[in-house]
């Protein structure tokens, strides 16, 4: 019996590199556990628990769309690398909880094989003693015999003098077993059995056989030929070698299996599948507090998109190859933003422009604004590659529904950023959309080449004055269409006009989605009122000049926030009783009229008293 516990801390081969063909999901097995292996279009290899978190369907029957893995049962999408759920089609308006994340295992390619393990903490076996300048993996062979019963009969079989590729020489091997999982066969050249001088040239490479413990009763034998490949021996000789070893391994399998017949069947290994967190066992509640800086990231690249716009790319601090737990950035959905804590103490919100599956970094695009309150200056002028910054995890209060028959994206200037990530997601999934970008001058048309390449119609409206812009928008929103959705981000005046026009033309509030850069209105904080917190049983007084959010914080009531000016929607609180005095630009008019929630950073009370679900 192998030491099962020790085996959990090793790297094991789980597939051949060539098993992971583009857009395919490969079902692997290791130590009784099933894994879904898939290669994303960016080359990254994913090794995941072969089980959708939702209802347990095998992910190996899912769809690899190149950037995300889509479950067959309810279409949940999981991102390349992080395995974070990015979209739940049954609830198109909600961003999935950021932490709905499938179990992942490390995956590395070496010796032409894919390597993984439950929690590997050592090195992938090296083949230092052999010539590894060129390597050719053999076809993996599954043998219905426990791992510890394979090496000896396999050595016997190979060293009993096997025919060479040309059939007229015999190769002899010397065997070496550094550990129970590896067998090295050193080829000792040929013994000629015919006068044919050609036989001397038949290559006889050394072979390393790795043993993959599939489950208690079965083992995969993964051989690699060392020192040969198509380039140094030519394809005809290589094919002959592969055929020969394939044949030999099948013979060896039959011999090993028949030698093992009548042996008792070992007790199966039952892998432990971690439970989902309590939070996800039911619907997640509102939690924790503040503009939290949870992540540390390193600025890895700055690029000029236009004379005034730069992109900034951030990477997780300690991503390492062969590390058992490569640190990954929490997954973000289209429309999400992060708070960036700038060196000058400011906290600013920026939309992520990442496309689907681009999970190894966060990218933002920032325009240098003269009237900016210091955010864009700090980014443009004082940051350099290599700097370490603190950011929040991504939040999404501007979620992209994917159940529209058509999606209209309308951007004003740098307001393109959240819509760019949406366009990338829609385009990748072949969902129909149109993009309108209103810009002052041609140079503001950032990412133009990429957008022109998308299948959707993209229109640039250059240099329109207020009246022209309003005429264009009015024409766009002319008649409401069922199952169409509009997303708009840009300056406050443009959003205000769009919302009003859409409302008068009869568009349903739920079809118009908007994101403000900031709240254009002046907040009136002169009122005084009482709040009662239904769940914590507290009764608090909010005086003039202080926000509801800051009073809650003073009493240690956790509410998340981000922009703290009524634009982003993060600090939403449910109202059970009383009439809110809405001062935000996040809620739609319908939601405001319903009066069952408010943005605690700016909104107050019209009634003397509010009862909140906190």
């Amino acid at each position: 019996m192998i030491d099962l516990e020790a085996a959990r801390y090793r790297w094991h081969p789980v597939a051949s590199s060539t098993d992971l063909v583009p857009r395919h999901v490969f079902q692997a097995q290791l130590l009784g556990r099933e894994m879904a292996l898939w290669r994303a279009d960016d080359g990254n290899v994913n090794a995941w628990e072969n089980r959708c978190l939702h209802r347990g369907v095998r992910l190996s029957i899912g769809i690899n769309d190149g950037r995300e893995l889509v479950c067959q049962y309810h279409g949940w999408r999981y991102a390349n690398r992080t395995a974070g759920c990015t979209y739940i089609p049954a609830h198109p308006a909600d961003a999935p909880a950021r932490t709905i994340c499938n179990n992942t295992y490390p995956a590395v390619e070496k010796h032409g094989l894919i390597w993984s393990g439950e929690k590997p903490d050592g090195q992938i076996p090296s083949l230092d003693v052999l010539d590894t300048t060129s390597i050719t993996p053999l076809r993996g062979v599954t043998i219905n015999v426990p791992l510890e019963n394979i090496a000896l009969p396999l050595i016997d079989y190979y060293s009993s003098g096997q025919r060479g590729a040309s059939g007229d020489s015999v190769v002899h091997y010397g065997a070496d077993t550094p550990d129970p999982f590896l067998l090295i066969l050193h080829a000792h050249g040929h013994l000629h059995t015919s006068a044919n001088a050609q036989a001397v040239d038949t290559p006889t490479p050394d072979i390393a056989f790795f043993f993959q413990p599939l489950d208690a009763a079965r083992t995969a034998v993964r051989g690699v030929l060392c020192g040969v490949d198509e380039h140094n021996i030519g394809s005809a000789a290589l094919i002959a070698l592969l055929k020969q070893h394939s044949f030999m391994l099948c013979r060896a399998r039959d011999i090993i299996e028949s030698g093992h017949r009548d042996k008792p069947v070992p007790t199966p290994w039952t892998p432990y599948i971690p439970k989902v967190s309590d939070r996800h066992a039911s619907m997640p509640p509102l939690t924790s507090a503040g503009q939290q800086a949870k992540l540390r990231v390193r600025l890895s690249a700055i690029e000029n998109l236009s004379p005034s716009v730069k992109t900034f790319r951030f990477q997780a601090l300690n991503t390492q190859i062969e590390s058992a737990a490569p640190s990954v950035l929490p997954v973000a959905q289209p429309g999400a933003h992060i708070d960036i804590h700038l060196p000058n103490g400011l906290v600013r919100q920026y939309s992520l422009i990442n496309g689907p599956g681009q999970t190894d970094h966060y990218a933002i695009a920032v325009k240098r604004l003269d009237d900016s309150t210091g955010g864009s200056h700090a980014l443009h002028d004082s940051l350099k590659v290599g700097d370490v910054l603190a950011t929040s995890v991504p939040r999404n209060n501007f979620t992209l529904r994917r159940d529209a028959e058509h999606t209209h994206l309308i951007a004003g200037g740098i307001g393109l950023t959240p819509l760019l990530s949406m366009a990338r997601a829609l385009d990748h999934s072949n969902l129909p959309f149109t993009l309108h970008h209103f810009i002052a001058t041609e140079t503001d048309a950032i990412n133009r080449a990429e957008l022109e390449n998308m299948s959707a119609a993209v229109h640039w409206h250059v240099g329109q004055d207020v009246q022209q812009t309003q005429d264009t928008l009015s024409a766009l929103l002319d008649a409401p269409t069922e199952h169409h959705h509009v997303y708009i981000c840009g300056p406050g005046a443009m959003l205000g006009f769009t919302r009003e026009t859409a409302a008068t033309r009869g568009w349903a509030d739920e079809s118009i989605h908007f994101e403000y850069f900031k709240n254009p209105d002046v907040v009136d904080d002169s009122s005084e009122f009482n709040v009662e917190l239904a769940r914590s049983g507290l009764s608090l007084q909010v005086p003039a000049g202080k926000s509801l959010l800051s009073v809650l914080r003073e009493h240690n009531v956790g509410v998340q926030s981000s922009c703290e000016q009524g634009a982003c929607g993060t600090c939403r609180v449910e109202v059970l009783e009383g009439e809110p005095d809405h001062q935000d630009v996040y809620l739609s008019d319908t939601e405001k009229a319903q009066g069952n929630c408010l943005m605690s950073c700016v909104s107050r009370a019209r009634s003397k008293r509010l009862v909140l679900d906190l």
Binding site: H54, Q72, H74, A90, H91, H280
Partner: protein, 284 residues
């Protein structure tokens, strides 16, 4: 084969075959709760079922033969629509599936998979939203009721053409049976009924029997069977790829969303019943 020791499952009525499928003479064989049973048609209104030498109780209802390996605690649930004179009652399918009965019940209650599994028939992208619906446990009748279920359907039944918002009501009157009522495409005032009766061959294998009871003068029996068997054939590969095969009752085993309200209620209902056969008990 391990014997079933679950008193709850032993006291239930279980379907074993469509009456019309039983040949006029000869002994037939099937399996229920891991036990081999023999049954035979005596005449048009009588069927006998044996477990070894033991004669088992029999109920003939809704087109199927039902039996019980223990002592039945109550009568089989009511399905009054079956007796309405203008309905077409069709035993539409019997399909073997390598999954537990409770997993198959959940699949039957689940609207979220329509666009992905029954593409172009019961659902179609991009119309994937599962709207809020109501779930109640009727304590008097001891059954689960899900109402106000609305879902976009490109072709809801054999007799319909074109997309509609379909209205559903689901009933779970038995741990291994579920009934669906949906707006009838040919008569708005009536409801079509599709009932799923699951035979637990063992804990991880079922035979799924379907009764279709509709107001439809257009479709032939064959049309109705083809429709239902097509639907079953789409669910089968998904169900057979669910891990674990038994339904986990531990709330932390899987991640439910609001669309799964009826499944959450169903799991809770099974927990209170103390049912063990075909489920993985929640850790105490």
């Amino acid at each position: 084969m391990t014997q079933c020791s679950d008193p709850v499952a032993l006291a239930l009525w279980h379907p074993i075959a469509a009456i019309e499928d039983i040949p006029a003479d000869g002994k037939q064989k099937t399996q229920l709760l891991g036990e081999v049973l023999h049954y035979r048609k005596m005449d048009d209104t009588r069927v006998s079922v044996h477990h070894g030498d033991r004669k088992l109780p029999v109920t003939l209802a809704y087109g199927y033969v039902w039996t019980c390996l223990g002592t039945p605690e109550r009568d089989l649930f009511d399905l009054p629509e079956y007796a309405e004179s203008d309905r077409r009652n069709v035993c539409a399918a019997t399909v073997g599936v390598n999954v537990s009965a409770p997993r198959a019940v959940e699949n039957f209650l689940d609207m979220g998979h329509f666009p992905f599994v029954h593409t172009g028939i019961l659902g179609a992208e991009p119309h994937t939203e599962v709207r809020e619906y109501q779930v109640n446990v009727d304590t008097e009748r001891d059954e689960i009721l899900a109402t106000e279920c609305l879902f976009y359907q490109p072709q809801a039944a054999a007799g319909s053409s074109g997309g509609v918002m379909s209205d559903y009501i689901y009933r779970v009157p038995h741990p291994y049976c579920a009934v669906l009522y949906k707006s009838c495409p040919t008569d708005e005032s009536r409801l079509d009924v599709i009932a799923l009766f699951l035979q637990s061959v063992d804990e991880e294998n079922i035979r799924a029997h379907a009764l279709v009871s509709v107001i439809d003068t257009q479709s032939s029996d064959l049309d109705i069977r083809m429709f239902q068997q097509n639907i079953f054939s789409q669910d089968k590969p998904i169900l057979e790829n669910q891990l674990p095969k038994r339904l986990p009752l531990d709330p932390r085993a899987e991640t439910p969303i609001r669309a799964d309200k009826s499944a959450i209620a169903y799991r809770r209902w099974l927990r209170t019943k103390g049912l063990q056969y075909g489920v993985l008990a929640a850790a105490a």
